[in-house]
């Protein structure tokens, strides 16, 4: 019988496995969301409940909370696979490592980023966002969270072999998130003033495109270093 190599099959298998595992341990999906919710509810308690003030600060709050909650799950992308040896197995499979990385990052995004996007209207309501800004918040999260997963995967790949990689991971990755934060919050700000914010979205999209092309290679070389 002939061996069947198919990139599509590999992508689906890796993706399916990670999503399945996340659904087996639902806390992995729910905890970052709860964290996001708690961080958001801390801000009104810290700075006061005035609706205008909250609406003014909402873009920043939402995005900082999104960055932090993505950080929570980031360590998990490769950690389990590294510990049980699946990562080694994937590296000695004849498929390109970057493809495996893309599958794993996509899976990570669908279990952390996507729920965040879907629930963001609710969080927007808590912070008194108007409908324009709400729309912008959803769109920026939709473009921005995959970007966070991609950039974060580089850090996760670099630190997966370390005993205490968690804090180091945030130190490595958070500075790289700054452009995303700046353009995403600015898009929401602009939309709140009923102005056109497609420029910011275009820049976010461009960054996503660049990350999509370059990050998988960076991650795969990082993984090779970690496994060696």
């Amino acid at each position: 019988m002939q061996r069947q190599y198919s990139y599509r099959q590999l992508f689906i298998s890796v993706y399916k496995k990670d999503v399945l595992l996340a659904f087996r341990q639902r806390s992995e999906i729910i905890n970052p969301l709860l964290f996001f919710l708690i961080v958001i509810s801390l801000f009104p308690l810290g700075i006061g409940p005035e609706p205008q003030l909250l609406a003014r600060m909402a873009p920043g709050i939402i995005w900082v909370a999104a960055l932090l909650s993505t950080m929570l799950g980031l360590d998990k992308i490769f950690r389990d696979d590294y510990q049980d040896g699946s990562l080694e197995q994937l590296l000695v499979s004849p498929y390109p490592t970057s493809l495996i990385v893309i599958a794993k990052v996509t899976a990570h995004w669908s279990i952390t980023g996507l729920p965040l996007v879907l629930l963001s209207p609710m969080f927007g309501l808590l912070l008194n966002l108007d409908s324009n800004a709400m729309q912008a918040a959803i769109i920026t999260l939709l473009i921005g969270t995959p970007l966070l997963s991609l950039i974060g995967a580089i850090g996760a790949g670099l630190t997966v072999g370390l005993q205490k990689g968690g804090i180091l991971l945030s130190l490595l990755v958070l500075p790289l998130y700054i452009p995303v934060l700046i353009f995403a919050t600015s898009a929401i700000d602009t939309s709140a003033m009923s102005l056109d914010y497609t420029g910011q979205l275009a820049i976010l999209g461009a960054m996503l495109a660049i990350a999509l092309v370059m990050a998988p290679f960076a991650v795969s070389s990082a993984l090779k270093v970690s496994v060696s």
């Binding site: 580089i154 670099l158 630190t159 072999g161 370390l162 205490k164 990689g165 180091l168 130190l171 490595l172 958070l174 500075p175 790289l176 700054i178 452009p179 700046i182 353009f183 600015s186 960054m207 370059m214 960076a218 070389s221 990082a222 270093v225 970690s226 060696s228």
Partner: protein, 259 residues
């Protein structure tokens, strides 16, 4: 028995190269630091607006330039290390990172100190200061990643990857911060008037930039030497180096005793 050594002979060559270059850099650094500082701090005319407080540019500007210069050279070394798998380039990345971080820190502190008389506050979210702060974070990331690994071979490669990723991100971060700053520009920030700097201030500044560059070069070379020795400590040429050294010292001691 030591046959497996010969591919690593390059480290020895690099070490020798460092040794030859080091005195030149050191001499230029010391001489130009003395000239630059005496000239800049003592003789250059005071600014009509900022009086003597402007003199901090003779430290601030060179260190800021060098902080970025060091990052670019680190990124180039990282690229070489990853593409051609040169271990010496890896070591260069490690040698440069803390020096660059120190330059960034100097730039930040002097910038903040300058900000106090200029803007009336120690810290202002000025675009350049903010980028410099993020640059410091990137440096610290590279350094702490290197220290986190036990196996220094993997540590070097991991830091190279991070340095390269940072280098790709740095322009994006820089422009986004600048853009963000123009968007949020507060009343406290006064831009320098863009007019050309007077020659009486320009030349001491140039000398200082040269001085800092030579100084960074000196320290990086010294660190690179150390890193090479540390990484190659079990190789015979390093051992030979040490025994030669001790022989010389013994001789010296013997000479002194004879006197």
């Amino acid at each position: 028995m030591w046959k497996w050594l010969h591919p690593y002979a390059k480290a020895q060559t690099a070490y020798r190269l460092c040794n030859t270059l080091l005195p030149y850099f050191a001499v230029v650094a010391v001489a130009s630091i003395i000239i630059g500082w005496v000239w800049g701090l003592g003789f250059a005319p005071a600014d009509y607006q900022q009086k003597d407080s402007y003199r901090i540019i003779f430290i601030h500007v060179p260190s800021a330039i060098l902080s970025m210069g060091a990052y670019s050279s680190m990124a180039i070394a990282a690229f070489i290390a990853l593409v051609w798998q040169l271990r010496n380039a890896e070591l260069a990345v490690i040698a440069i990172a803390p020096v660059g971080a120190a330059m960034t820190l100097i730039a930040l502190i002097t910038g903040a100190a300058w900000g106090k008389p200029m803007w009336g506050a120690w810290w202002v979210w000025d675009a350049r200061l903010t980028s410099e702060l993020i640059l410091l974070f990137l440096y610290l990331g590279v350094i702490s990643l290197y220290n986190a690994f036990e196996d220094k071979g993997s540590a070097g490669r991991a830091s190279c990857i991070l340095a390269l990723v940072g280098a790709i991100n740095l322009p994006i971060i820089h422009f986004s911060v600048e853009w963000w700053n123009t968007l949020h520009q507060g009343a406290t920030i006064t831009k320098f008037d863009g007019g050309a700097i007077d020659a009486s201030m320009f030349w001491p500044l140039m000398v200082n930039i040269l001085a800092f560059a030579a100084f960074v070069g000196t320290v990086v070379l010294m660190r690179l030497k150390n890193e090479i020795l540390l990484r190659e400590k079990h190789r015979p040429w390093v051992k030979g180096l040490i025994t030669n050294q001790t022989q010389l010292e013994n001789q010296n001691v013997g000479d002194k005793n004879a006197v």
